[in-house]
Symmetry: none
Subunit: 374 residues, 2 copies
DNA sequence: CCGGCTTCCCAAGCCCG
DNA sequence: CCGGGCGTGGGAAGCCG
């Protein structure tokens, strides 16, 4: 009996991959009990008893599968990565993009531009030295670069508290050649400018370009009535850029200036989702989406004005008491017309305000150059 | 010659990883001769005889290493496009889950205080077709995968309107082995669950695991006073997951339930940044960061409760009139103590509340839990 | 806790039809 | 030359002391 039993006990070793992680780490015998093994139970940490998640069968295949997936998506992403700092790079990619702020920052890339593997199509003429060439002197930004920057901005916009309708922006970008886009140049360049904060060095050097262009465009459109809202947004974003670039004073100057301008436009008094404005400087919002954008802009200005004035010990531009504007939602809600705090019966009325939700059209049409001037 | 022969006889087989690539492909015996094996020589293709450069020893370690590298670079590039699960949908980031999805409602109430802790009650019906079956029910996630998912969530959290202190989460993750982390398991699993929505195939399969775990952890901690705030966050995130997974009813159910719970906790009455709470269910916030997290949670619940109730034509859980909580800022602001709408002289007092901002330490080594000796 | 032994089982090698 | 499939080496998990 004793021998048999000892043999039996000895062979009672659990199967490969079946020991709980705690026992593994401790290198002790595990009975693989569920939901907790006896060893963990007796040590009082039965809640911590977990089992490996990878398939017990074939670690290698699991890894291989993951590798394939990753490599595929990597290839996809990098095929649309415009600039490779092609110096003899150490394969290790630890070099995070320099952060403008002590906060984890991630630079997402582009996905789903079904650009095939010929990344060379977006090769920019590269004179010596400058990998990006001199397109910016008079030409246009290559579309892939532009789109990449926009994506970067979009997925980091929460850091600015800056919410806007991405789908609308995308729609604008898709239509027409870039030169004739209906996007306000100041707004676009301000977005690109801020995106630079999250980019690696190669794109980062575009910062002065976008900065100059933004300011130029702002100055150009200062007197114009059209595009006033975009002017505001661009101005606010410029302030944010300064802010994050460490130039607090300039940042606060722009932000508070924008805030005062916004007050003049009545952005602090958006009490309903109706598109008709009360005869302010701003033309009536085109639709609910734009109302949402205005509301969000206001609260962005509010938040940053408060924060900025605190940081710089400067007075706030807007007292709390006068604020009437409703709280903002993410733009998705306005876009899908689900946000409405009024009684339900008004929903139908609201729906009529909204043009049909734009049919999502296939993307990836614009892989072309945007330097096509015509 | 005799020596050669005896050697050849003794080890008629070449060592693992030593066969030339041609022989491997042809599945024929290779003598591993340099610079070309005899087989390749006799077949006239001695020039094609090559040997694997990569260390064929320990395939798994090699794969793991490559995996880590890839994950690292992917994290830098990956966009924030959620992967649409069902149907060849056009990948549109911003399509809210508006499709009415007739899913069986199989999980009633999250907030049911009187449901006692019959702990083993987590029989989650797993789809039978899942090849992984219940095996995955219990399992430990490799640390790199976990971290990758977390990063995915972090950079997409604005889509949930869900703001929280990333640096605090990271700090918790860095300390101690995963099993001993002080993160609330429900919160962590809810994060991982939502991250799955943005992941590709191989990680996506973990969805049911995280779902089950989240629900289990929620159930486990339902009665507990400690970690109540994390419970709320996890519950809210679970609701968001359901939403984005197209299960609107369940999503609204969870979100509104969480909202009611939040009301009971007084989250709608955070009128100052002081950490002391007015004797609610919640224990006082540890510091300003947590106050910020609570404020943000409240508004997240607010926005989604409104949107969700509109979507499902259900009553809202919280009337506007009772809201007193101040408007939220991105957590960065609380972390850096620049947000404060009270008079300036109180800033100093506030500063003492905050522990020194943790210096960002170098990227954690974060090898996998099973990373064996090197 | 961990050096190191034991056992397992997978995948590389390659026989052979 | 291909590739199904088999005997085997050895990497890796379990876990003793
Ligand atoms: Zn165990
Ligand atoms: Zn255990
Ligand atoms: Zn050979
Ligand atoms: Zn050869």
């Amino acid at each position: 009996m004793s021998m048999q039993q000892s043999l039996a006990l000895r062979s009672s070793r659990v199967r490969r991959g079946d020991a709980c992680t705690t026992c593994r780490r401790r290198k002790i015998k595990c009975d693989s009990g569920r939901p907790a093994c006896n060893r963990c139970i007796s040590s009082g940490s039965s809640l911590k008893c977990h089992y490996e998640i990878a398939p017990a069968r074939s670690t290698t295949q699991w890894l291989q599968q993951r590798l394939e997936d990753l490599e595929e998506s990597l290839a996809l992403l990098e095929s649309s990565t415009p600039v490779q700092s092609s110096k003899g790079r150490i394969p290790n990619i630890f070099s995070m993009p320099s952060r403008p702020h002590p906060y984890p920052i991630r630079t997402p890339g582009v996905v789903n531009l079904n650009s095939s593997s010929n990344a060379t199509s977006l090769e920019v003429p590269m004179p010596l030295g400058d990998p990006l060439g001199e397109w910016w002197m008079d030409g246009e930004l290559p579309v892939p670069v532009r789109d990449r920057l926009i994506r970067i901005f979009v997925s980091n916009r929460w850091q600015f508290s800056f919410e806007f309708s991405v789908s609308r922006l995308e729609a604008s970008l898709r239509t027409l050649p870039p030169d004739h886009s209906d996007i306000h140049p100041a707004f676009l360049n301000a977005i690109l400018l801020n995106a630079c904060l999250y980019s690696r060095d190669s794109l980062r050097r575009l910062e002065p370009v976008f900065l100059a262009r933004t300011r130029r465009a702002l100055a150009d459109s200062l007197g114009l009535a059209t595009g006033l809202f975009d002017f505001l947004r661009a101005s606010a974003l410029l302030g944010m850029y300064y802010y994050w670039a460490g130039r607090n004073i300039e940042g606060h100057h722009y932000l508070s200036g924008t805030m005062r301008f916004a007050l003049a436009c009545g952005l602090h008094e958006i009490t309903s989702l109706e598109t008709a404005t009360t005869g302010s400087l701003l033309s009536p919002a085109r639709d609910l989406v734009e109302v949402g954008e205005r509301i969000n802009l206001f609260w962005m200005l509010y938040a940053n004005d408060r924060a900025g004035s605190m940081l710089n010990r400067l007075p706030v531009a807007m007292p709390d008491k006068i604020i009437k504007t409703m709280y903002p939602y993410p733009l998705v809600y306005y876009e899908t017309v689900v946000v409405y705090s009024a009684p339900l019966e008004r929903l139908e009325a609201l729906l009529t305000l909204i043009p049909s939700l734009e049919g999502r059209q296939e993307r990836a049409t614009s892989t072309s150059y945007c330097s096509t001037r015509r």
